[in-house]
Symmetry: C2
Subunit: 262 residues, 2 copies
Amino acid sequence: VRIDPSDRGFTLGDGLFETMCVVGGRVLRQGAHMARLSRGAQIIGVTMQPVDWNGAFTAVLGANGLKDTVLRLTVTRGVTSRGLVPPENARSTIIIVPSPIPPPMPPAHCIIATVTRRNEHSPICGIKSLNFLDSILARQEAVSRGADDAILLNTRGNVAESTAANIFAVKNGDIVTPPQADGILAGTMREAVLAETRGQERPLTCDELFDADELFLTNSLGIRAIASLNGRQIGSGNRQLSLRLAARLLSSEASGDREKEH
Amino acid sequence: VRIDPSDRGFTLGDGLFETMCVVGGRVLRQGAHMARLSRGAQIIGVTMQPVDWNGAFTAVLGANGLKDTVLRLTVTRGVTSRGLVPPENARSTIIIVPSPIPPPMPPAHCIIATVTRRNEHSPICGIKSLNFLDSILARQEAVSRGADDAILLNTRGNVAESTAANIFAVKNGDIVTPPQADGILAGTMREAVLAETRGQERPLTCDELFDADELFLTNSLGIRAIASLNGRQIGSGNRQLSLRLAARLLSSEASGDREKEH
């Protein structure tokens, strides 16, 4: 499979993607991923041709002899001539690429990104688009400061999310994550955690992160505790809730219990 | 020429581009375009292999039998496996695609975009990256409101630029354009106009746009007057300065007079 150099996914970042975890041949939270893709397509005005997603995923898994893998689904506006306004007859490009499930990661050492901020004024911030340079910059800053990941603030200075995950703070048993209005991409695992824990969505400050009992990151591939932020240990370091939640959600999802809800 | 679907330009918008006007076989303001590309590559940390740009442009023009054309140069971080942190050995992808010079355009009817804003807190805003979805959204809003182009504000509410051009306001003979700190991409034609007119860089409000004697847009392909903003005519409608400036800059550039400066 090769891409036309005039594909707007390549020329203008004009497209969307989903990263989905596949366990035992089953795409976890497939409904939530497909709903988010449709919402993104509506926001940027991409008309996708009808696709039998189950058939497509099964075909890619079968052709590659895979049952446990990560599938990345990319949808772009397709091939057009130069110019920003898309022609009405553009036919979207759809690509599905498997890659190995990453190994379980130890708790993350994080920094607060200083190089850039998320733009809560842009609808692009709320969809999983191909415009990923701000996250790349922040991740590069993390690596250059000896950390694993970076937490991005929004333009108002509130906490938004990490470069590829949502963030949750736990304090005295309360579980909090920033709301969509603060410039986050609402992850499928974030949704599952909110449903499981009755967590709250409300603005979070940096001070609240440093003061938390536990912090953890969620994305479609899992839940990862945060060990430190800007070099300061978070809480007592026991991270009980993060670990319990990770175990509970992952086991129930792998066995399909949550399929009705998500 | 086809692109690998794992090229980070396609998967993450991880790259840069330049759109250059070629007249009589000569790339206009080539030095300024190449300087901007290098600055962008430095900001996102892309290491380009050494390229003989003159040789590359001449080869593309020759192979296509072209002397007057638009060249789009795209540089991406190259092909890598999944993940945000680029491997150190990534080899950048470089593509040069010609397309016809668009015909001269009548003065533009513009709107102030309401759907999104430029993020002056992000270095990505100041480089010509592949992350173009905010501009696409704003241009779609313009078309849906019966206009040609949209003026984007930044998160503070100051004027930034249009979806693919810088903006200048003329009032009582003073020529003003927003500064780089207000979330603009500093265009090569903007630079030429500032040098030619001793224009000022300072923050601009929406009120100042509506109150201007003339407004005009600049990008590498030319200078275009603005006829109206949100349906209101700008100034008396004579647009003398825009027209004079366009004629002067375009003729001097086509004849190569400005080559020493830019």
